[in-house]
Amino acid sequence: MSESNGTRPANETPDGGLTRRRFLRRVGAAAGAAGLAAAGYVVLHDPTGKAGLARPKPITLPDYFETIYGGFGASEPRLVIVRTNGKTPVAEMVRLALEPLGGMGQFIARGDVVLLKPNVAFDRPPVLGATTSPEVVAAVARMCFAAGAAKVLVADNPIETPANCFYKAKITDAAKQAGATIVLPSARQFRDVQVRPGQPNPDRHEALGTWSILYEPLKTANKVIGLPAIKDHNLGGASMCMKNWYGLLGGRRNQFHQAIHEVISDLGYMVSPTLVIADATRVLMRNGPTGGRIDDVKQAGTVVVGVDQVAFDAWCYENLLERDPATLTYLQYAEDKFGPGTGARRFGQRNWKDYRDRGLIKEINVSG
C-alpha cells in the first residue's frame, strides 16, 4: 500500500484535504490494528506463567483385556504350557497352546489393530536368548491376520540403537515376512502416560505416577500381545512378562534401578494385555539381561501362553529359571497391588498355585 511521492489517488480532493472515505479508511485501519493487538494480548495473557508451560495431558492406557474378560469363565485355563523335545516348530507350539484358551479367535476380532510387544532390548542374535525369538513374532503375527486383524504392529524401545537391535534379533525380517509393520521409536513419538493419578505411595511399593511412553504404536492399537523373552536379570531377579513392558517407556528409565521391584510390578499394573505369549525354546539362565554366552542359554523347548501376568511370571520363574517364586520380590509387590482378580485389569491371583489345584493351568506335552 505504499504510495510513491507525487501521484495523487482519485479519492483525494485536489487540495489534499480530508475526505470522509480517507478518514474512515485510515482511522479504521488504525483502530483495527489497535483492536487486533489488544485482542491478541488479552487472549494470550498469562498472569501466573502457568499457561505458557502447559504440557499435553497424559494419556491413560485402556484395558486391552476388557472385551475378552467377560468370556472368561471360572473354569477357563489362565495359563497353558506346551513342552516339546525341541523338534516342533514354534508356530505349531503356539497354536497348540492357544487351543484350550479358544484359539486366537477368542482374542483377536475382525478389524483389530494388534500391537505385538517383543523384547528387542539388546543388539544380540536370537541364539543368545537375550531377545524374543523371531519365530514367535512371525507366528503370532500370522495368527492375528488369520483371525481377521486389519493391522499388526511390532514395537519396542530398545536400550541400544533400535534399527540395529531389530535387525540383529532377526525381527525385522520376521515381521516383514508375516506382513506386520515395525514401528521404530523416535524422539517425537513419546507422550506422558498416567500410570496412576497422584503421587506414587512408597508404602504400597508404588514407584510410577506419570511417565513418558512410546505413544505412536499405541495410538491406533486396540489389542496388545506381550511377547517376552524369559531371562535371568541381575538386579530384578528375572525379566519375563511384566518386565517386558519396560520397552514401552521412554524418558529417564535409568532411574528405575533405584527401586527395580517397585517399578517392575508397576509395569504390570500399567498394562493389562490381551494375551501374553512367551517362546521359551531358549531361556537365558544366568548373566542376564544382556547375556552373551551360548553356555548360559538352556534349550527348554517350551511355549507359555497366559492371561494372568502374576501367574505367568511365577510359573516361568519356578519351572523355566528353576527358582523359588516366593523369593521374587516384585511378584509379592504385584500381588499386593493387583488385588485378587477385581475385574479385567488386575487378574493377579494372590495364591497362583490355586490355579493349578483348580485345573486352571494346563500343561501339554508333545513328544516326537
Binding site: 505504499s2 489534499g16 485510515r26 488504525a30 490494528a33 532411574q255 517399578v263
Partner: protein, 618 residues
C-alpha cells in the same frame, strides 16, 4: 540547541502553549532516564528485602517493551503477567508514531545526548549525516530474523533490544565499573564474568553516535523496527506544507530519525522528536492529523526478497544453534539456573538476557553465561558458586524476571514447605565431593566447614568418622606392656637396624576433631584397633588394655580418625553454600555442585536431568 543564524526559533506564542514541544520532550526524556537510573539506585542503596513493594518496579521498563512481549508470545504462545502493559506503547505508536523512541526510551536518550554533545559538524554536515540511508533497513532484517527464531523456540531479541541492552550493560558493566572506580560510593563491588565484553559493546554502540547520530536507533534497534512497522497506522505525523517550504533542508539539521522531513516523510523512521518543526525558518512543518498518503512513505524500507531472506536466516539459526545439543543431551553440568527457572528449552524461549536477576541477587552468584549453555544461552544467568551461593530464604530473582524465564515462586514452593511439602523443594543440582581435594577425604586434615554451613534442615551434609593410615604410619614394635607399646621405624631397604621412632609428646592424644588409633595384629585373627590415650617420644599408651599385647617385631599401624563429610542426595538442594565456603578456594573445589538432580527439568522426557526416581522424602 545550536541553530543556524537564519533559522527562526518557534516561540511559545507560536505554539500556543507555555512550553515548546521540544522542551516538553526533553523533560520527558530526562524524567524517564532519571527514573531508569533511580531504579538502579533502589537496588544499590536500598535493601529489597526491606522494601518488597519496590521489587516489581525494578524491571518496569522491560515490561512496557512491546518487543519483549511479542517475541516471547511467539515462542511461548502466552503473554506473561506484566508484559501486557506493553500494549500501551503499541497503542501509543499506532496513534502517534514512534514517540517512544525519542520521548521515553532511556537507551534512545543516551544516544541522543551523546550524538548531540559530541557532534562537531557544521549545519551542512549535519544535514548530510541525517540523510536517510538504505542501510537503515537493517534493523527490520534483524527484527524479522529474531522474530522468526522466536517462532521456532529461540528468543534472541535480548541481544539488541535497547531496554534489555541498557539494563544489562548497566548491571554488568557500568555499575561494577563505578564500584571499582569509587569504592563504597556505589554499593559493594559486584563481579560478573564477561563484564568487559558487555561494557565494550555499550561503548561501541554509544560511540557510533560520533559517526552518525542515533546510529543504533536507525540501523540496529529491533524495537525501533517493530514500532516502525506499527507507525504506518499513525493518525498524526510530521506534515510539510509544500507551498511554504523553500527546500532549504534545515529541518534535517537535527532530525533524529533521518526520516526525510524535507521530502516524503518516512513514517517508520520518524522518531517524533519535533526538532524539524522547531528548526524550520518558514513554519512549513506541523504535526498534522491524517495528512495525505502521497506525501509520505508509509511502510518500512523493505521488499519481499529482503523479508524472505531475513526470515530464513532466523529460521536457520535454530537448527544450527541446537545442533550442538547444549540445551538437550549434551548439556553442561555447570549450567545451574536460578530457583524457579523453567526447563532449559522453555527457558531459552523466555530469557531476554536483561540481567535483572543478576542485579537483585543478594549474593552475586548469578553470572552471565558465555557458551556453557550453547550459543543461544549467551548472557543468560547461571550460578557460579565461586562468587556466591543461592541464599536459602530468598526468591528475589523470580520477582523481577519480566518474562517468566524464572517463575515468581514463593518461599514455600522453593523450600518444599507447607502445602508444597509433597512436591518437595526446588533443587538446583546436587553437590558431590572431589575426594582428592577435600581436606578430610584427600588430605587427612579435619575440616567439615561444608557440613557446618549447609542450610537445609535436616542437613544435606552429614559426617562420619573415618580412619586413615597416617603418614609413615607403619611402625615396628620393639617392646610392649599391657597398655603401652614402644615403636621403631620400619627398616628401610638394606638396613639391619630400625631407627627409634620420634614423636612429639602427646601428639597422638587427639581431641574432639581428631582421634588416633593403633592397629595391632593378633595371632590367627583380624587386626585389633585401640584408641591412643597419649604418647611419649617413642612409646604409645592406649585407652584400656590390649586383649592380646603385640610382640616385638610385629608391624603395627598408626591411624588418624577424622570426620569426613557425605552428601545425602535426598536432602541436597544444590544451593552451593558448601562449595562457596570450601577451603579449597579455586575453580575446582573440594565439594562442587553440578546440575544433575535439578527439579526444573523433571517430567520432560529425555531432557529430564533429575537423579532420583521417587519424589517423596523417605
Amino acid at each position: 540547541m545550536p541553530q543556524s543564524n537564519t533559522a527562526k526559533k518557534m516561540t511559545t506564542k507560536d505554539t500556543g502553549g507555555f512550553l515548546r514541544v521540544t522542551t516538553a520532550r526533553m523533560i520527558s526524556q530526562s524524567f524517564f532516564f532519571v527514573a531508569f537510573l533511580g531504579l538502579f539506585a533502589v537496588t544499590t542503596y536500598l535493601c529489597l528485602a526491606d522494601n518488597p513493594r519496590l521489587i516489581p518496579w525494578v524491571a518496569k521498563f522491560l515490561e512496557i517493551d512491546p518487543l519483549t512481549a511479542i517475541a516471547t508470545a511467539l515462542a511461548t504462545h502466552a503473554v506473561y503477567s506484566g508484559l501486557i502493559f506493553s500494549l500501551m506503547i503499541l497503542l501509543l505508536t499506532i496513534a502517534l508514531g514512534r514517540v517512544f523512541c525519542s520521548w521515553i526510551c532511556p537507551f534512545g536518550t543516551l544516544h541522543h545526548v551523546v550524538g548531540w554533545a559530541f557532534g562537531r559538524w557544521t549545519t551542512g554536515h549535519r544535514i548530510e549525516v541525517n540523510r536517510y540511508r538504505h542501510s537503515y533497513a537493517t534493523k527490520y532484517v534483524i527484527l524479522i530474523a529474531t522474530l522468526a527464531a522466536a517462532v521456532f523456540g529461540s528468543v534472541q531479541i535480548g541481544l539488541l533490544d535497547p531496554i534489555a541492552t541498557i539494563y544489562r550493560s548497566f548491571t554488568i558493566a557500568v555499575m561494577p565499573a563505578l564500584q571499582t572506580a569509587a569504592p563504597g560510593r556505589f554499593g559493594d563491588l559486584r563481579i560478573y564474568q564477561l563484564a568487559w565484553l558487555i561494557g565494550a559493546m555499550l561503548l561501541v554502540l554509544v560511540g557510533l553516535n560520533l559517526v552518525i547520530p542515533r546510529l543504533f536507533c536507525r540501523v540496529l534497534c529491533p524495537l525501533g523496527a517493530l514500532l516502525g512497522v506499527f507507525a504506518r497506522f499513525s493518525l498524526w505525523r510530521i506534515e510539510r506544507d509544500t507551498d511554504t517550504c523553500t527546500s532549504c533542508g534545515l529541518c534535517a539539521a537535527h532530525c533524529e530519525g533521518a526520516c526525510d522531513p524535507d521530502g516524503s516523510l518516512r513514517k517508520s523512521e520518524c522518531l517524533v522528536c519535533f526538532n524539524c518543526i522547531e528548526d524550520c525558518p518558514h513554519d512549513a512543518l506541523r504535526f498534522g492529523y491524517l495528512p495525505p498518503r502521497h506525501t509520505e512513505v508509509t511502510n518500512p524500507d523493505l521488499d519481499r526478497r529482503r523479508i524472505l531472506v531475513a526470515g530464513l536466516a532466523g529460521l536457520a539459526f535454530i537448527p544450527l544453534a541446537r545442533a550442538a545439543g547444549a540445551s538437550g543431551k549434551a548439556y553442561s553440568s555447570t549450567v545451574i539456573r536460578p530457583p524457579g527457572a523453567v526447563e532449559e528449552q522453555e527457558f531459552l524461549k523466555r530469557c531476554i538476557k536483561c540481567g535483572q536477576c543478576m542485579r537483585v541477587c543478594p549474593t552475586n552468584v548469578l553470572q552471565p553465561a558465555m557458551l556453557e549453555a550453547g550459543i543461544e544461552g549467551l548472557w543468560t544467568p547461571l550460578m557460579s558458586f565461586r562468587v556466591g551461593f543461592c541464599q536459602l530464604n530468598c526468591v528475589a530473582c523470580g520477582q523481577v524476571c519480566p518474562t517468566g524465564a524464572i517463575q515468581r515462586i514463593t518461599l514455600q514452593e522453593k523450600l518444599g514447605l507447607g502445602t508444597c511439602a509433597a512436591a518437595g523443594p526446588i533443587r538446583l543440582g546436587t553437590a558431590s565431593y572431589d575426594l582428592g581435594r577435600c581436606l578430610p577425604w584427600g588430605k587427612a586434615t579435619p575440616c567439615v566447614v561444608c557440613e557446618e554451613v549447609c542450610p537445609v534442615s535436616p542437613k544435606a551434609i552429614y559426617t562420619e568418622w573415618q580412619q586413615f593410615l597416617m603418614r609413615d604410619g607403619r611402625k615396628i614394635v620393639t617392646a610392649a606392656t599391657a597398655a603401652t607399646v614402644t615403636l621403631a621405624e620400619l627398616p628401610k631397604g638394606g638396613q639391619t637396624r630400625s631407627e627409634p621412632t620420634v614423636l612429639r609428646p602427646n601428639a597422638l592424644r587427639g581431641d574432639d576433631s581428631q582421634h588416633f588409633y593403633v592397629k595391632v595384629p593378633t595371632a590367627g585373627g583380624a587386626d585389633q584397633t585401640y584408641r591412643i590415650a597419649g604418647n611419649g617420644v617413642d612409646t604409645i599408651q592406649i585407652d584400656g588394655e590390649f586383649s592380646q599385647a603385640p610382640e616385638p617385631g610385629d608391624v603395627v599401624a598408626l591411624l588418624n580418625e577424622i570426620k569426613v563429610p557425605r552428601i545425602d542426595m535426598s536432602r541436597c538442594i544444590g544451593c552451593g553454600l558448601c562449595e562457596n565456603v570450601c577451603v579449597i578456594n579455586g575453580d575446582k573445589r573440594g565439594v562442587y555442585v553440578s546440575a544433575e538432580g535439578e527439579t526444573r527439568s523433571r517430567g520432560y522426557g529425555d531432557r529430564d536431568r533429575s537423579l532420583r526416581l521417587t519424589r517423596t522424602e523417605e
